[in-house]
Amino acid sequence: MKLVLYSGGTDRENLKVDKAFIKLINKKNPVITFIPSSSYLAEEEFRAFVTHYSKFKVSRFIHFPVDIPFDQTIFKEVLRSDVIHLAGGNTFYFLHSLRKAKVIPHLVSFVKRGGILTGLSAGAIMMTNDIRMAGYPEFDRDENVVKLKNLKSLGLLNFHFFPHYRDNPKYEKAFKLWSRKYKEVILAVPDGAGIVVEDEKVSNVGPCFLFDHGHVQVLKRDSDLDW
């Protein structure tokens, strides 16, 4: 299983995560599929995405919005790509669209077949068991614009992912509380940092805050995680 979870931030801030991602591909001129969280104004996002990864000599991209109908020809090609990227945006709307388009089982199979799945913010949350993190904490959450009740997502990871984490008492308190209440692990990652999963190995690129049973552990830069 090969996954890369981006938190957010600028291209420059993400350089280290990008390098880790490119290393993971290990193939010349791969095909990368870009799945925006919503097709609304996604062309701009796609263009920025292409411009960014072109710097790493990638020139084959597919733009694949899932909240509009698509044909089987392009869908087949998407599933044959080397990388599928789940973009950022409203996590609830994104999950709703992926589910409605019946894409989720295909993404899981894609990963099991060895395909690389990357995600940014909402896209990274999507790889976990459910998207509860999108609605938490109260002061920094996505609006559930589609009134989604079933929050189950791809279920590829046994931890929660919280992007755009800010290292301050307000956030720390909120996540300690949550991890104590639900007894589940949260990896909270600030912008510019990320998580790379390669088979059984989970490692952080840049700083990462691990919340477990009401405690926080600040992980040093670029370490392998084990808990």
């Binding site: 263009r47 991209f61 733009h63 044909d71």
Partner: protein, 611 residues
């Protein structure tokens, strides 16, 4: 007499919106063409509320300052009301000696212009023209003069109803609809959404400046453009062989175009050169316009009267305007007494208008009106055909997603290849359903079955990914629309050949550009991919979607302030930018408007292949 245009500012002597005071019924057309209009006294209305004010357009016109916030303060509101919330005193009112308060009377008269209209029994433009519209006046800002007119300001004697039934109508007479002189707010909203999107995408069009609502969904729709003259303003005088008036209209029109620096020449050696330039310029403009309409699937009912189009090829009167999602080449609007032209017949009508301008030009130069048939092969008609062809080629290359430099290279050195691809493209674009012609809500149609935007958007991506052509089945899977039934999608030997031709020529174009520019093929395809994803966006507006959007906005509108409407229109316009070189403005709408936008984009999506 009552008080007019009282200074509404809090600071005595200072008027914050001084340009509004110039919009008072006076218009240069009146001096140039004294017989070209009917003048009406007008009175100010007391009721009504502002539904919409176009802040961006008002800034372009200099009515408000560039840094004016997009909010309506009481002073601006008052200016809009005092300037545009008015009703004419028509022949019926005078005949019946209807009394109006002296305080409400406006000091100047407002004109309804005369022009040719095919609905009128006269057929020569003696009785036809603005039936429910008056021209408010002009404003000049940064070297451009703008015309402003208002629709829904009362029944004039130039309406079809008045002339068919040979009587004057009271404004608002429920016995007649179109001729009653009033307009619906819904018409204004339709024009607003449609025209703002088309304007953003480089179409010439009238635009809505303001909408003032009255009771029962009626209102006044204020429109603006840099020159609101139509070919029909010329044609009525041509039909009547009235040299003086025809010359006056032409001189007026060219004067304005020169004033606005919208004319290819800045001065003329003599009248001959001046009037030649009229026919030539119209030929160029109408060739470009009709090619653009055809390629962007704009259905505009062009006819011999030249009524539904502006002189610069701009769209006016959105009542019968549509944008199709597919090339529905056999759609005809049913106007009870007649069917409209089809999208393919528009070119012939545009050429006919050019032919008329050749006749006008000759008439003005020689003083003798020759038969129109003598101008069937005039230099301007030939020029029209030539430019139309060039534009069709250029438009197709633009649609593929090629940047300007590549388009120019291909048009210069690979014209035959472009024409071959266009032929293959047209084969699929014009393919029709086996279902045949059938009745639709407002006319008849025979469905197009292929969505060219989809194939142009997906093909470069699939080439990048697959490194090979699509097989026949894949090609049809991508290009088929929801209108295509199994019988329409049979893979006949002919169709297979056409699929191969389409892809062969497309690839030859890409390969040529790759070789010529020393760029890898994938780089060219990637550039096309990104541009094409904007140009051939999945959800593009259609006439159907605009109709549904108007319903939705009308439903929401009681709770939408003019400022919120402005933000919503701006966001919608932004969402429908189909020009990859145009930068989108950052969205500044609030959560509530975002929610509304989601609803509107769903409508656009659902209607994307329709009429």
């Amino acid at each position: 007499m009552g008080t007019f245009k009282q200074n509404p500012t809090q600071t005595p002597g200072i008027r914050h919106y001084p340009h509004f005071s110039h919009i008072n019924g006076r218009h240069p057309f009146k001096e140039f063409v004294p017989e070209g209009f009917v003048d009406y006294s007008a009175r100010r209305l007391k009721s009504g509320k502002i539904t919409y004010f176009n802040f961006d357009l008002a800034k372009e016109m200099g009515l408000i300052s560039k840094d004016h916030p997009h909010t309506l303060n009481s002073e601006l509101e008052r200016e809009i009301f005092q300037t545009f919330n008015l009703m004419i005193i028509n022949e019926y009112d005078l005949e019946h000696k209807i009394k109006f308060s002296e305080d409400d009377l406006l000091p100047h008269k407002y004109m309804a212009t005369r022009y040719l209209q095919l609905q009128h029994p006269d057929k020569a433009g003696r009785t036809s023209g603005d039936g429910r519209t008056i021209w408010n006046g002009t404003v000049r800002h940064q070297g451009k003069t703008w015309d402003i007119s208002s629709c829904g300001t009362g029944a004039t004697k130039l309406s079809p109803a008045c002339n068919i039934n040979k009587k004057f109508y009271q404004t608002g007479d429920p016995a007649i609809s179109y001729g009653c002189g009033l307009a619906e707010v819904a018409e204004g909203i339709e024009t607003l959404f449609f025209s703002e999107v088309l304007h953003q995408n480089h179409f010439q069009t009238e635009r809505i400046l303001a909408i003032i609502e009255h009771e029962k969904g009626l209102g006044i729709n204020v429109r603006a453009h840099q020159n609101l003259m139509r070919p029909s303003h010329f044609f009525c005088h041509l039909k009547q062989s009235n040299y003086q008036n025809l010359k006056a209209v032409t001189d007026y029109y060219i004067h304005r175009e020169l004033e606005n620096k919208n004319w290819p020449l800045s001065q003329f050696k003599n009248d001959k050169e001046k009037y030649r330039s009229l026919a030539r310029t119209i030929a160029e403009r109408f060739a470009k316009m009709s090619a653009q309409f055809e390629d962007e699937y704009i259905f505009c009912w062009l006819d011999w009267d030249g009524d539904n189009i502006l002189m610069d090829g701009g769209i006016i009167d959105y009542g019968s305007i549509r944008q199709f999602g597919l090339f529905h080449a056999e759609y005809r609007y049913d106007d009870v007494e007649r069917f409209s032209t089809t999208i393919l017949e528009q070119k012939q009508k545009a050429r006919y208008i050019v032919q008329c301008f050749s006749q006008i030009s000759d008439f003005l130069i020689t003083g003798k009106k020759k038969s129109l048939s003598q101008f069937q092969k005039s230099a301007e008609v030939k020029l029209f055909d030539q430019i139309f062809e060039q534009e069709k080629n250029k438009n197709l290359l633009q649609k593929i997603g090629l940047k300007k430099q590549y388009q120019e290279e291909l048009l210069k050195n690979q014209k035959d290849l472009v024409i071959k691809f266009r032929k293959a493209f047209t084969h699929f674009e014009r393919a029709k359903s086996k279902r045949g012609v059938y009745k639709v809500a407002d006319g008849i149609n025979r469905d197009a079955i292929f969505c060219m935007r989809d194939i142009l958007r997906e093909m470069p991506q699939l080439y990048l990914s697959k490194n090979q052509n699509l097989n026949h089945e894949e090609f049809l899977d991508v290009i088929k629309s929801s209108y295509a039934k199994r019988a329409d999608l049979k893979l006949t030997p002919m169709r297979k050949r056409q699929i191969d031709r389409f892809q062969r020529f497309y690839n030859q174009i890409v390969d040529h550009l790759s070789k010529k520019n020393g760029e890898p093929r994938n780089k060219i395809l990637l550039d096309i991919t990104m541009r094409s994803s904007v140009i051939n966006k999945f959800d593009r507006i259609t006439g159907d979607s605009i109709s549904h959007i108007v319903q939705k906005v009308r439903h929401l509108r009681p709770k939408l302030s003019p400022v919120e409407m402005d933000a919503l229109v701006k966001e919608f316009r932004n969402y429908q930018i189909l020009d990859p070189d145009q930068k989108r403005q950052t969205s500044s709408v609030h959560e509530r408007q975002k929610h509304i936008m989601r609803g509107l984009s769903t409508i656009v999506r659902d209607c994307r292949e329709g009429l």
